[in-house]
Amino acid sequence: MEKTINLTLKVWRQNGPKEKGRFETFKVSNISTDSSFLEMMDILNEQLISENKEPVAFDHDCREGICGMCSLYINGRPHGPDDDVTTCQLHMRKFKDGETVTIEPWRAAAFPIIKDLIVDRSAFDKIIAAGGYVSVNTGGVPDANAIPIPKPDADDAMDAASCIGCGACVAACKNSSAMLFVSAKVSHLALLPQGRVEAARRAKAMVAKMDELGFGGCTNTGACEVECPKNISIANIARLNREYLVARLGE
């Protein structure tokens, strides 16, 4: 049985990176509770276009929770009130009829606003470019089973690798720290023999880049883990600390 709700939206509007932003209030009505949050945003934008107003700019791509493109800080939480999902998989059934929904962009010095709700997350790409890879020499294709990997290690590595780089950890952290992201990337490579070779250099380079880009430090509040749509554990942060300290103190 379909149900519809009416909402008041308070949306952050900002024309450009250097412009001053402000909240604008919109009303949307007859929103199906079966629709996704981004579909509701689409309806809002259709409405704005028909009124000859500028539509709200927001990030989205795959809309199936795997690309990490959507963001949005909804009612005080990254990716909104549901757990373990991205904004694109958040359904309007999570909201009540007549509710006021505040929609803000990720707030971090390292994620400057491009327009409205879109922030520049290329800082994450720069951290990856600093060391989040395995150097592979060209040659014959190695045999798939040549290097045995213990199942627990493979599981932990896969769990860490499920990070989609959406930036919810930075948005959730009171210090805008990127430690959960960096620790997931360092962990999934350090746990596997192929990535182990460069583990020390990688941890140092990625942390140095993270600091340089203006992310805050980790104070172990654990908010990132709770808000992460992919359930990345802060045990990864302990591993990153260990990898980094061993690398630095062994210099």
Binding site: D211, G217, T219, A238
Partner: protein
Amino acid sequence: MSNFLTASIGRKFLMSITGLFLMMFILVHLCINLLLIFDDSGELFNLGANFMATNPAIKIMEPVLGLGFVVHIIWSLIISIQNMKARPVAYKVSQQTNSSSWASRNMLVLGALILVFLVMHIINFFWIIKFDPHSLSKVLIDGVEMEDTYTLVAGLFKASVVYDLMYVAGGLLLGFHLAHGFWSAFQTIGLSNKVWIKRLQFVATIYAILVAVGFSVIPLYFLIKF
């Protein structure tokens, strides 16, 4: 090693190491203090205090302890300023109560309040014992003459309800600070994983309760009994 102590994890490493050191001190301090309530003649506490004051190992550790406090405080300020700079524009609506504990988000506030308490505490006891020992009466225990620190401490707690309550508040603040600080210190130096994080958080809670109750019980004992 050049910029280790200014790198994000390096700064935290220093907080963790000094924090762990201070937590060991607190445990020793609590053990000695509890002698206050187990012997109303004050003999036990005076012996403990005299042992701590004359022990060469403790004499060496005293300046190290002072340094531990100074580094822990200064680095906390450096870290906090850096972390505030990382988010120049605040959220209008922010729901943090579900995702993190109050203490973990307010370590700076708790630490600052503990610092206020610490200054009062030093003026009350440490300063007098260290720099004005002549104002203390002397007692003779087992043929050894020592300062009667029991009368100094018990006297304050017996005389002033306000001080009693301040010391209870100090104990509680310390408890909240350490409930997060204890396991966080291990996490920061990498001595944690999926299994141990739960164990560390459990021990942190026990340790924090011990510290809070242990320190609060002393002024309450004097407040109620005398």
